[in-house]
């Protein structure tokens, strides 16, 4: 064990991890975070807190992480390279560690074109692979990127994301390989709808032995409606929604589509759990946190193991 992360603890014990996410509000109301956190308590082992996702201004990820931490949950700080240069990224890593945040997820970030401030200037001083390296170096070698000594190392469990459904497909496992080489210890994937393609990607990951050095958590997102499935297929870049999924959603009456979406999600979890190398599930119920408990329960993943030292 390198860190105090509850996720690392479960993985180290050979357990199967369940994480979910919490999108901070577009305002300063801490209650929104507390409400979402309450829905996830006892249901998941870690909660990603998104960092201005889709480039829309929201409460900062670190602040929302601290609120969740205060409730006894295990937050995973998402950090994107879009908005901060190397000085700000390293500074926020120190701040997060000082506030007791044990997990960080290193991401490039969505382009600001998709957000509410498309006129903005992006930073991209470094990319996600380099950010992983920087955080690991601060933690393991006690050195900043610039070479100076870190006095009080940020002890965090380091993760990243990978999209097995983006192109070019043949380098998607190699790309994970670069993240693992950089020090990445867990990975959460983009939402899986095309299980066949995910399996092929996992085979490539396992062939390279990457699954032994980095825990792969398979990402799932329930459809709320056939419209959402269609929207994701057509409008979300790098999303692979097979035609039969859309047909299945369309095949049930509107009032029962949400139920069907959850059923598909649960079946997906059950299928990907069986794929060699998968060490956990990441449930991204976008603005639908109240359904996470139902999904995790139906997938047979409750109760969650106790991870906190001393219990809670």
């Amino acid at each position: 064990m390198k860190t105090n992360s509850g996720i690392e603890r479960i993985l180290a014990g050979g357990g199967f991890v369940v994480t979910s996410e919490c999108g901070p509000p577009r305002g300063a109301d801490a209650e929104v975070i507390r409400r979402k956190g309450e829905l996830l308590r006892g249901v998941v082992d870690g909660v990603n807190v998104t960092d201005n996702q889709t480039s829309v201004v929201r409460m900062s990820s670190l602040s929302a992480c601290v609120i969740l931490k205060g409730m006894g949950l295990e937050p995973i700080l998402q950090m994107v390279c879009r908005d901060r240069n190397r000085i700000a990224l390293q500074s926020d890593i120190l701040g997060a560690a000082a506030l007791g945040i044990n997990n960080v997820l290193c991401l490039s970030g969505d382009h600001q074109k998709f957000g509410d401030h498309p006129q903005g200037k992006n930073v991209y001083d470094m990319d996600s692979v380099q950010l992983i390296q920087v955080v690991c170096r601060m933690r393991d070698e006690g050195r900043f990127l610039g070479g100076e000594e870190v006095k009080g190392r940020p002890v965090m469990f380091v993760g990243a994301a990978e999209n097995p459904f983006a192109d070019p497909f043949e380098i998607r496992a190699l790309r994970l390989g670069k993240k693992v080489k950089a020090g990445c210890e867990f990975i959460q994937t983009q939402c899986i709808y095309n299980i066949e393609r995910f399996s092929r990607w996992m085979e490539m990951v396992c062939e390279r032995g990457l699954h032994e050095r980095c825990a792969v958590l398979a990402g799932v997102t329930p459809f709320k409606s056939a419209g959402m499935a269609n929207y994701m297929k057509k409008n979300v870049p790098g999303m692979d929604v097979p035609e039969e999924m859309i047909a299945r959603m369309k095949g049930v009456p509107k009032e029962r589509q949400a139920e069907e979406g959850i059923r598909i999600c649960v079946e997906t979890i059950q299928r990907v759990r069986e794929i060699p190398g998968v060490r956990g599930i990441h449930v991204m119920a976008i603005e639908w946190e109240e359904k996470v408990a139902e999904i995790v329960k139906a997938a047979g993943l409750l109760p969650r193991p106790e991870t906190r030292v001393g219990g809670h």
């Binding site: 390279c81 879009r82 190397r86 490039s108 970030g109 969505d110 382009h111 074109k113 998709f114 992006n122 991209y124 001083d125 470094m126 990319d127 996600s128 692979v129 380099q130 390296q133 920087v134 990127l145 994301a161 990978e162 999209n163 983006a166 192109d167 070019p168 043949e170 380098i171 190699l174 790309r175 390989g177 670069k178 080489k181 950089a182 983009q190 870049p237 790098g238």
Partner: protein, 222 residues
């Protein structure tokens, strides 16, 4: 070359304000090739101004002149003889040219008629595409001759983001994903091992982040 677009006529007119004695100054270099500010575009803009003001019954004097370059003093100096006959120099050069003309004629009002956009190439007649951001430390040897700094929307140095789809960039489906191009070329060359090397965080000091740049070649100075 430097690629630019001519500004809209309305914007140019607004910037000119009450000025009616205007020297429209073109440049024979990059902006000629990309059809933004060469002799031909000088003629078009001057005609538009004359037509507009004639229709409004105004008195005006619009002169057309195109220099070999607006980024070298020796050419800019060629207009010294008649520059004072005009209230405004409307420069159709890139931003470098506009500034150098303004530096040369300190008391003259110099206005830009072109938006300077990027360092790029001609793809076909009428189509140009960005290739370089002048970072000052070229890595094209590492990236199969395709620059991810200029051509990836996020300037990623270690591979495509999760939005690369069918060879196109997530921000624009007309735009090639730079990393798809890099991977295709590395594969063709049998150099995929290159892809697996982690490119380190870039030292941006040689780029604009290190402050405005200046280059001195002692061996060339007179």
């Amino acid at each position: 070359m430097i690629v630019g677009n001519r500004k809209d006529f309305g914007e140019i007119l607004e910037k000119l304000g009450p000025a009616r004695r205007v020297l429209v100054l073109g440049c024979n270099e990059c902006v000629t090739v990309c059809g933004a500010g060469g002799e031909r575009e000088v003629g078009v803009l001057a005609s538009e101004l004359r037509l507009c003001w004639k229709k409004e019954g105004e008195t005006f004097d619009v002169k057309e002149h195109t220099l070999e370059r607006q980024c070298d003093y020796e050419y800019i100096d060629q207009i010294r003889g008649f520059v004072n006959d005009y209230d405004v120099i409307l420069s159709m050069a890139c931003g470098a040219g506009v500034q150098y003309v303004a530096e040369t004629y300190k008391t003259k009002l110099v206005l830009p008629a072109v938006n300077t956009t990027f360092l790029g190439v001609t793809i076909e007649q009428g189509v140009w595409s960005e290739r370089c951001q002048g970072c000052g430390a070229c890595i094209l040897d590492m990236t199969a001759g395709v620059c991810p700094i200029a051509r990836c929307a996020k300037s990623l140095l270690n591979g495509p983001c999760g939005g690369s789809s069918g060879g196109k960039c997530e921000i624009d489906n007309e735009l090639d994903c730079a990393w798809q191009l890099i991977v295709d070329r590395l594969k063709e060359a049998g150099r995929m091992d290159r892809y697996e090397e982690i490119l380190p965080v870039k030292d941006w000091r040689t780029g604009r982040d290190g402050g405005p740049r200046r280059r001195v070649r002692e061996d060339m100075r007179l």
